[in-house]
Point group: C2
Chain length 222, copies 2
């Protein structure tokens, strides 16, 4: 199976919100739980997706949309796992938008999908402003980025449903104040689900999988 | 009546280039070496600046412009070191531009400055397209982000004068392929200066300081 690559320019005149609503309606009609995954470059979006596929593929039919400025290295990895995947190259654009995701949906087997994972472009600022049609937003923060990231990039932390705090295996080697981080995040976003995880050691992933499985099931039965 | 077409991107970038040239002329008139420091969120820009101040403050008069979406936590740290600093909050903007830097210059003692360090907003995409009036671009990559970042964000690595590869103290705990990283970076940018460093342990910083000192002196004597 070859990876499909869609190269799109940024549609600055597009009515993103309208298009996102149309995407959501289309995804709802198939009862697909759709998750928009956002983070800084290198925080662990692809590792999370690969771990999630490994755990969930016997329980749900998964599809993936990969957003990147350039390359298809992430989509290649997902493709090797036998999962339907579309790579969107933004050609310099710093976030996905609903038009790009619509193009992605056109290339995926929606009637045979329960869970759609959308990996946004690595960026803590702009992706937040562009709805894609998702049910839930998941952002990944990682310990090496430092505990002050919620103070410096508050919008992203305030508007997400889940914060996955990745790379907790590195804690002994870093000066990361977990209490300060948690306090800032929950102040910005009192209803957030916060899961400390390590995609490398597997620590903490069980809680994330349980939560996700329950969300997939509740969307299936809607 | 003909329809007016405004191509926003080109217009903004064109105006920015003009303003950046004006900033450069102003900075040149004071023989100030100006460095635009760019990276992902949390790669170590502020730590690098603080280390550089500690080493260089007896040798050069330093000033700093701090760019952030929100907060003044970085500028507060620089201020505590007794260094003239201006915080620019972009209010959601994902990069500094030449207009913002002009405002910053208006608040700094340019006649008593040899080295101006500009910390851009944490973002591996957009800052690359906006010249600020700098002499040199320095980007920081960090080991926890992974060795594939130059493949996924090529423009930033291609257009910089220096790559500082930070957090090398974490190498024993990570799967980071130094050869693969170096090979991709030098292929994108054959003339780049690449310094592996740790702002935490101090390893490798000596080479960066020597290079910077020589650049400051050569600008002073122009």
């Amino acid at each position: 199976m070859t990876v499909k690559i869609i190269t799109v320019g940024e549609d600055i005149l597009g009515a993103n919100e309208e298009k996102a609503k149309a995407n959501k309606k289309r995804l709802d009609s198939h009862n697909i739980l759709t998750i928009n995954i956002m983070s800084s470059p290198g925080a662990g979006k692809t590792s999370l997706i690969m771990n999630t596929i490994n755990h969930m593929k016997s329980k749900a039919r998964i599809a993936v949309i990969e957003g990147d400025v350039a390359s298809s290295v992430d989509a290649d990895k997902i493709n090797e796992m036998g999962i339907p995947v579309i790579q969107i190259n933004t050609a310099g654009g710093c976030h996905l938008d609903a038009n790009m995701v619509e193009s992605g949906l056109n290339g995926l087997p929606l009637a045979e999908t329960d869970l759609l994972l959308i990996e946004n472009v690595g960026n803590l600022i702009c992706p937040n402003a562009f709805a894609l049609g998702e049910d839930l937003r998941v952002m990944i923060a990682s310990l090496p980025e430092g505990d002050d990231k919620p103070i410096k990039y508050p919008a992203m932390f305030a508007d997400t449903d889940v914060v996955l705090l990745n790379k907790i295996d590195l804690q002994p080697h870093l000066d990361f104040n977990m209490d300060a981080f948690t306090k800032t995040v929950t102040k910005l976003n009192p209803d957030v689900q916060l899961f400390p995880i390590s995609c490398k050691s597997g620590e903490g992933l069980g809680a994330w999988f349980s939560w996700l499985e329950s969300e997939v099931n509740s969307k299936k039965n809607k």
